[in-house]
Amino acid sequence: MRRYSETDERHVRAQAQIRDWKGAGLIDASQAETLLAGYRVELRRTNVFLRVALAFFTALVVAAVVFFILEVLNFHDATGMTIVTGVASVACLVVAEALVGTFRLYRFGVEEMLAACSVILLSISVSEFWTVWESSLVAALVTSSAGGFAVYRRFGFVWAACAGMCCAAAIPFIPLQFARLPPSGERALSAAILGLIFLVVRPKRTRDGEEWPGDEYGVLQAAAFGGVYLVLNLHLFPDMIRAVGDRAGGWFYWGTWIMTWLLPTVGLFLGVRDKDRPLLMVSVAMAIGTLISNKPYLGWTRHEWDPMLLGVLLIAVAVALRRWLSRGPEGARYGFTAARIFRDKDSALTLLSAAPFPVEPQIHPPAPTPPSGFDGGRSGGAGGGGSF
């Protein structure tokens, strides 16, 4: 079923690990050369920057060709769209297969985007069958979901499975005329779908660990777990959730509140116990999300200084953990260390940190007008100020 052999997949990962070891100074260059010689693969790869650019221009070509054909053939009705997008979908898949088969492309951007376009075009083609908008949307999501998982099974693109997961989780939110769920039901069903994916993937992750394909299952497991949290936390995105949250029933509301505490706790426990990095990172993110959303859940007033308290807590946790770990024997406790081992592992953080921090734009607001004496509580010296 897989387009790449198990040997190729394992060798690609082994190469990456050997390069990490070399980068960390654990082996020298000549040793790395010797070790890499045992893991040769006949695959064409490129770096992440060119990969992204190639994917972008591939998407542009596919979109332009499809619209060009629609214009030339003057197909502006549903039937025309169905035929053209359906044929284009097959063509994209065939070309992706050919590129992988003939040129042995591996995570090259082009074949990835062609596979993605194949699924998207097929979804559009399928959705054009339905005249009712909601039904066509459900059809598109079902097709995208199945297509995403199929692309993952065929090419090993983890992002495709994650996209498929998102589409599957979105299906319950589409209100159908014949089966309209209450808001709580929509969220519960969506969480159940993601939870089912988690339960299917988890045993595979436990079985394979970090060895391929266990690393892929690790990402999928963490994504599904994080997805359950995102669906169930009614206060994570205030503007988006407010309308839905208000409609949710009392038992469901408090059930989701319990889940917002339970999921990060379970995730952190499993992540720490299994030293599962994707699950650990997702669980930390969920824990921060819970701290942010807890006050609105309980109906407590949010204060301007709440982010400061959160910041102090995060800093305290980081510093305390670091100290605790580094004071253990050989700078480690229970196999965990706070020491930096691989230098190129924190490139995402470097990118995040390099973003300019917008402090200065607030520097020049209009001059505040002096209080008139009737606009606040200035009188008496101890009164609070009015509105500024």
Partner: protein, 313 residues
């Protein structure tokens, strides 16, 4: 065959030493699991959350808190950060230096953000510089540059570069980006930033900072040029500038194996060239045909570049 079995094989064959085998086996088995990145991320998020909360609190409650107490608190925070950095940091060196401890970089970052907050609040309340308020930005960026170099901190360097960009007339959040003379300001800014980065690099002062300078300079220059191309009154001259800059970015990126610059050059120049070629074209088939053909040409060129220069995954 698993990597663990291979490690045993390499040890038996003498490819790696017994000590290396022990260390690598511990890593593969996850007997030694580093959480450095996770803890650093927590620290960074903590600092950013704290500063955001401090700014919000001051903005909302400055009347109740009082100017003196706010300024005193911010000054003490900035001073304490500096004291920590000067007392814990190693002496200055032109070369790249490791942080003396885990939180060091973030303490300095925190202090710098507090300093920015303090200057912003001071101007908001007292209007010392009136219409020349932007000089605060220059002062702030100078302080940031000095501290970034003194303590070898790329976070603070990025702050310094963005603050300097503010002084050059960028009005973030005010929707005046690259309008009229700001485009020229942007080009001057990027030229100065690139020249400063190159000069420091040539002088052997913090050579590893060069890439940070170039990322900012190239993006600002290309963005300014491409918006100049989009503006029909200035498109001719900016088109030439864009092609020159994009060509330099691509050539330099390929030569020095810095592929983000190749991508910047390709994307910005493609946007500019497409705008020029499609100006006045209203036929949909021509437009779609153009994108299909031109993007295919770009893909072929990128594939050739990827095969020749960018094979590392």
């Amino acid at each position: 065959m698993s990597l663990l079995a291979d490690l045993d094989r390499w040890r038996d064959a003498g490819t790696i030493t017994r000590q290396q085998h022990e260390v690598l086996t511990a890593l593969v088995r996850k007997d030694r699991f580093s959480v450095f990145t996770e803890l650093t991320a927590l620290l960074y998020l903590g600092v950013v959350a704290f500063i955001a909360g401090a700014g919000w609190t001051i903005q909302t409650h400055f009347a109740r808190l009082g100017d003196a107490s706010i300024l005193l608190t911010l000054t003490v925070a900035f001073g304490a950060s500096l004291y920590y950095c000067f007392s814990h940091g190693s002496s200055y060196s032109h070369a790249q230096q490791e942080s003396p401890d885990f939180a060091f970089d973030y303490v300095l970052y925190f202090g710098c953000l507090m300093f920015g907050l303090e200057l912003g609040f001071g101007e908001f309340r007292f209007h010392l510089l009136q219409d020349r308020w932007d000089h605060y930005l220059l002062l702030t960026s100078v302080v940031y540059f000095v501290l970034a170099y003194r303590f070898d901190n790329r976070l603070v360097l990025s702050l310094a570069l963005s603050t300097l960009a503010g002084w050059f007339g960028f009005r973030l959040f005010r929707l005046q980006w690259f309008a009229g003379s700001l485009r020229v300001d942007a080009l001057i800014y990027s030229a100065l930033v690139a020249a400063a980065g190159a000069a420091f690099h040539r002088a052997g002062i913090k050579k590893h900072f060069l890439e940070a300078y170039l990322h900012v300079a190239v993006n600002v220059a290309l963005a300014a040029s491409v918006t100049g191309v989009f503006d029909s009154s200035t498109s001719g001259i900016y088109f030439v500038v864009l092609l020159g800059l994009a060509g330099a970015a691509i050539a330099g990126g390929l030569r020095f194996r810095r592929f983000p610059f190749v991508v910047y050059g390709v994307l910005y120049s493609y946007a500019g060239i497409s705008n020029m070629l499609l100006r006045g074209v209203h036929e949909d088939t021509t437009i779609f045909g153009y994108f299909a053909v031109s993007a295919t040409v770009v893909i072929v060129c990128l594939v050739v570049a990827a095969r020749r220069f960018g094979r590392d995954a």
